[in-house]
């Protein structure tokens, strides 16, 4: 009989008060009890340290620029799980009751995942000793079967999602994964019982299914899932209930505000790679309870530390600190993690020569435009796709979020290209009518207007006004000529949005698609090598291809 992975009771702690093994827990009733939560999210396979150009917002969160640190790209001064683990260990030593939590998306974002499909991530998370990890949408990046396989091989931490059901008699590994993924977990730490409910992402289900990469899960209503688990945890005398969520920022806010369940005390979230300092405290409209919502960024750039004082099951006060992870004199590396990763690093270097210099950026090539329109890296990528030998279409469109990082000023290292373009997408061409082109650009405008009027796609051969005020693409030019609604145009794009990813349904239904099987990352790499130095006039520059009007 399959035993449902409903719930588990564990014990944990960091540097707890010395006590005898047989001693009963302290009498916490009526007393103040401190709990420390160490929080990461969206590690996205950034097991190895990397180089990047911190944004102003990063600077305000304590992350220094590379030149302040004297770091060159090859020094890889930022992030890395060996550094993160070292910091976690230091923080554990300066905490009593303590839990180490991650809110999902361990996978996809670096070459180590492309090559080893999660082995390194699972080993490292287990070695660090995470007390709970939520299943994120990118953890299905190589499919649910692979997730099950790699967790079975290396995972040894509670892997949570209360709102997914894994049931498909046709897929034997689905039941296996269902056994591994728990709905909730409870920790007892010196008398304090902390229940943790995991909530997986819902918004990505459609896109992932649409691109024929199903997560193979059946989602259930989030509130119902939380209610069921909090009922269980409360019946087990939980003093505190935390929700670990990969729903995303707005959904977490909404949940905190509208959740009728009065037992949830805090939400720790992920998915949007946002670090919020100080964290918002949301007033629940049903219960009047103040629920902190914690997001601590992504890519192992930061470790979030939350200190809570609890009395009789109520959070009395909260303190939050975001600790930047970068190379400096007082930061070490966890030798155990270094040891795990050095084999991977060695072989990646052997196979890919990841540290080879493929070009030079005279300034940082940004993936987002400075005014919300077309971007340097977006234009370069779209041009690279469009003009590649054998592609050569009239226009190209690629989703901005398919480019995951900027390319920092200085030498462009091959490794950085896997960070910037971690997805193994290929070029797809298709023919569109002028009306369909207009529909695509209107959709881009509408979607962008919901995201700070920041262009959610990058284009080549196309110029238009992205009017976020009315949600329409206006004054569309194709290679300098006004769009002919009755005309026919050939488009090159990536297979992700061609298959309807990110809501591009109008592309998915196109029957003229041809997947050329050409890796977009390889195309971009070879184009960088061809130009070597970027930007150049008309290459990797912002060109007002997408002009923003509010």
């Amino acid at each position: 009989m399959k035993i449902p992975a409903l719930f588990a009771l564990f014990t944990a702690g960091c540097s707890l008060v010395p006590t005898t093994v047989d001693a009963p827990p302290p009498a916490i009733t009526g007393q103040d009890v401190r709990l420390t939560l160490l929080h990461t999210s969206d590690l996205h396979s950034r097991m190895l340290p990397y180089h990047y150009s911190p944004l102003y917002t990063d600077n305000t969160l304590g992350m220094p620029d590379a030149d302040e640190l004297g770091c060159e790209p090859e020094d890889r001064c930022y992030g890395g799980l060996a550094r993160l683990s070292w910091v976690i260990e230091q923080e554990r030593k300066s905490a009593g009751r303590c839990l180490v939590l991650d809110t999902g998306d361990l996978f996809q974002g670096a070459v180590i995942f492309n090559e080893y499909m999660g082995d390194a991530e699972m080993q490292v998370m287990t070695e660090i000793g995470f007390d709970a990890v939520v299943v994120g949408n990118h953890d299905f990046g190589e499919g649910a079967a692979r997730l099950s396989e790699v967790y079975n091989a290396y995972g040894n931490f509670p892997f949570l999602a209360a709102n997914y059901i894994f049931e498909d008699p046709e897929l034997p590994w689905a039941a296996e994964l269902g056994d591994y993924v728990q709905r909730s977990v409870m920790y007892e730490m010196q008398g304090l019982r902390v229940g943790i409910v995991g909530i997986g992402n819902m918004s990505s289900l459609t896109s992932i299914i649409d691109e024929d990469n199903s997560m193979d899960v059946i989602p259930i209503e989030v509130e119902d899932a939380i209610q069921r688990e909090t009922d269980l945890l409360t019946s087990m005398d939980a003093d505190l209930i935390l929700v670990l969520s990969h729903l995303g920022l707005d959904d977490d806010f909404e949940l905190a505000r509208t959740l009728a369940n009065s037992d949830v005390d805090m939400i720790l979230g992920g998915h949007h790679h946002v670090a919020m300092v100080p964290p918002p405290v949301i007033l629940n409209e049903h219960t009047g309870k103040r629920i902190p919502v914690i997001h601590s960024g992504g890519f192992a750039k930061y470790l979030g530390r939350v200190d809570i004082v609890v009395r009789d099951g109520e959070i009395l006060s909260t303190d939050y600190e975001l600790i930047p992870i970068f190379d400096h004199m007082s930061m070490g590396q966890d030798p155990e993690i270094v040891e795990i990763l050095e084999d991977y690093e060695y072989w990646l270097d052997q196979d890919f020569e990841l540290q080879q210099v493929i070009g030079y950026a005279e300034e940082t090539l940004y993936r987002f435009g400075s005014n919300g329109g077309d971007s340097m890296l977006g234009n370069f990528t779209a041009d690279a796709i469009r003009f590649y030998d054998g592609v050569e279409t009239e226009m190209a469109i690629t989703n901005t979020l398919g480019i995951r990082t900027d390319l920092s000023a200085g030498d462009i290292i091959l490794d950085g290209m896997y960070n910037a373009m971690p997805f193994d997408n290929s070029i797809t061409t298709m023919f569109l009518s002028g009306r369909e082109v207009q529909e695509v650009l209107d959709y881009i405008t509408s979607r962008s207007s919901e995201r700070g009027c920041s262009a959610q796609a990058q284009v080549s051969g196309i110029q238009f006004i992205m009017n976020c005020g009315v949600g329409e693409a206006q004054e569309v030019l194709i290679n300098g000529v006004p769009l002919d609604l009755d005309g026919t145009y050939e488009l090159a794009t990536n297979d992700y949005i061609a298959n309807g990813g990110s809501g591009f349904d109008m592309l998915e239904r196109n029957t003229t698609q041809t997947d050329l099987g050409i890796s977009i990352r390889d195309v971009v790499i070879s184009t960088i090598k061809a130009y070597h130095t970027l930007p150049q006039p008309g290459v990797a520059e912002e060109e007002a291809r997408i002009q923003v009007v509010h």
Binding site: T20, L55, P280, D319
Partner: protein, 392 residues
Amino acid sequence: MRVSPALSILLAATITGCNSSPHVDANVLSFLQVSIIAGEQASEEAPLPYSNDEVTVTLKVEALDRNAEPAPFRGTLEVKTQPGTLESDDEIELVDGVWQGDVTLRYPFGPTRVWFTDEEGDGDGREPTFVTGVSDALWYDLPTIAQVQATDDHELNNLKGEYTTIRAVDRRVIVLAVGQSGMWVTDLDDPPGDYNSLFIYTYNKPEYSTPEGDVADEDIIYAVPGQRLASLGGGNQEYLATTQLSFPQYDFYEGEILTVPDPVELEPDDLCSDDIMERLEGGLVRAQNLTIPSFEYGPESDFYSYGQWPVEFEGGDGCSFYAESGAQVPGFYPSDHIGESLPYIQGLVTEVWGKWIILPRDADDIAIYTETSRKAQPPRRPSAHPRGAGRF
């Protein structure tokens, strides 16, 4: 060992921590109990008035053992307050398990608690326990916008770094203007132009919501000027030296729209004073009798990078300032008007490290604005703050 839920549920809950020891001191510190000895605690329903002045309370801290009995603990505790700033010593010494003394706070608001933590050990080999006790809540009223903004330093505010809830429920706090990524709010119950305005960064165009909840997605209604806020809170930041609340939470009084006040008139010398401009930050102002001086608009210019263009008072009075109009008035090309008179410009005041900028809300805020043919112009680079910082 694989974590098996079916087995792990059976695990006994008796494990010790990383630095644990099998030997125990029965009197080891397990809890700290904090009592308010003197100083008004007030209540949520009847809080003490908010003040930027110092507040002193007398507290007593007692060490307890694992049975919640008094423990003869001797050691140093660290002190801090949430929220607010601690003005008195951040360490106290517990002797025979007890300390009593004064703690001085500044900028407390809402439920404020003082933390005491055994954080440092004693240097004689005693490891810290990280045991923490907090005072019961000292209830203070929420700060008004002006109480948050009023500082001597134009690059700071009093509650920077705090999740700041603004006193709105019994004030006439309204939306002054709405941009693509946020809104400006002002408190009509304070004198205009005296720290009473604030920018709220919402990332997307701010939506209207009421205490009954947001409207449905398919029926998004945006906030409009004049709407009165019932509540407002957010992460308090100084973004490029302009105060803003980010990741805000807010609600409006349903159907209540008040008149947006007229802009505050700027005198030429006002622009020479960071102190005066700081008072106006986030607020609506108007400057008159102006001219657009010659300025660089090539690729290396502030105009190209940020859409900012200079404005001077006619006759060279006072100090010059900048305007930024690309996003809200995209058809206006200031380079076409160099040397021309500008009867007035009005808009919202923002700061970028001592550079004072007026953000017109629309074409009506620039007196000489006339619609210019877009096609006759070279591609214009619309305004932008450093990445991710767009106001409108």
